[in-house]
């Protein structure tokens, strides 16, 4: 595969920079409202990584209740919507 030299150089520099700087992980928490400190604390107790990461909250009106935690490509879905989807699957399988 032939890669353009300038692109190759830029990519190399970026990766080296990423390796050198230890960035703190960014975690996005989506909920129907802004979570309080106690709720954040409870989440941190449940999920280890949240303790070391910076938490960014987002309001998502489509979520009925609960929250969705997203860091990088990983997602932990604690919303009521996913429970309803699970229920849908169960109903479909059993009926």
């Amino acid at each position: 595969m032939i890669i353009e030299p300038k692109l190759k150089a830029d990519l190399k520099a970026y990766l080296l920079d990423r390796l050198k700087t230890k960035k703190v992980a960014k975690v996005v928490v989506k909920a129907p409202y802004l979570l309080g400190d106690d709720e954040i604390q409870m989440l941190k107790q449940r999920i280890e990584m949240l303790g070391k990461a910076t938490i960014h909250q987002e309001i998502d009106e489509s979520i009925l209740a609960g929250c969705i935690i997203q860091f990088g490509s990983q997602v932990i879905d604690l919303s009521l919507n996913s429970e309803l989807q699970t229920l849908e699957h169960i109903l479909y399988e059993t009926v």
């Binding site: 909920a31 209740a65 929250c67 009521l80 009926v95």
Partner: protein, 165 residues
């Protein structure tokens, strides 16, 4: 004798000439003539015989021809009967095969109908479930107050299992 008009010399001369004629005829003519007549007779007899033979043979051939004709007719009738029989058998086989194929087609169609019915029922179930869940979601969306949402969220977070990530 002369008064009666009979000429003795003439008679003698006639007798002599007759005798000469007779001798000449006997010596030179009668043999070949009779031979010829005999030959003609023989030929006529032969021709009659041949004609008779031909007629006999012709009659025989005619009889033979009639007999062969009879045989041919009998053989033909037999062959026709055998062919008819065979044709009936083949017909029966074809009908049986066609029935079998028709039954197989009917069975295949029934199986297909059953499969399609099941697919349709599955789709219907899926749609019913989707609609039900959609209705519940909509209802919850409209029914849940902000406080209720907070309470549910708190409850979900409390119940969430610990994850080592």
């Amino acid at each position: 004798m002369e008064n009666l008009g009979i000429d003795v010399k003439l008679i003698v001369a006639q007798m002599v000439s007759f005798g000469v004629f007779y001798l000449v005829f006997k010596k030179f003519i009668s043999g070949p003539l009779f031979g010829f007549l005999k030959k003609q007779k023989e030929q006529e007899e032969l021709r009659d015989k041949l004609a008779g033979d031909l007629e006999k043979r012709s009659a025989q051939l005619e009889e033979k021809d009639k007999a062969m004709d009879k045989e041919r007719k009998a053989a033909l009738t037999k062959a026709i009967a055998a062919s008819k029989k065979e044709a009936l058998v083949v017909k029966a086989e074809i009908v049986a095969e066609a029935k079998k194929e028709a039954e197989a087609l009917v069975e295949a169609a029934k199986t297909q109908i059953q499969a399609e019915r099941e697919t349709m029922q599955k789709d219907m179930r899926k749609q019913i479930v989707e609609i039900c869940v959609m209705i519940v979601e909509k209802a919850l969306h409209d029914y849940l107050t902000p406080q209720a949402r907070k309470d549910i969220t708190k409850h979900i977070i409390e119940q969430a299992p610990k994850a080592k990530i």
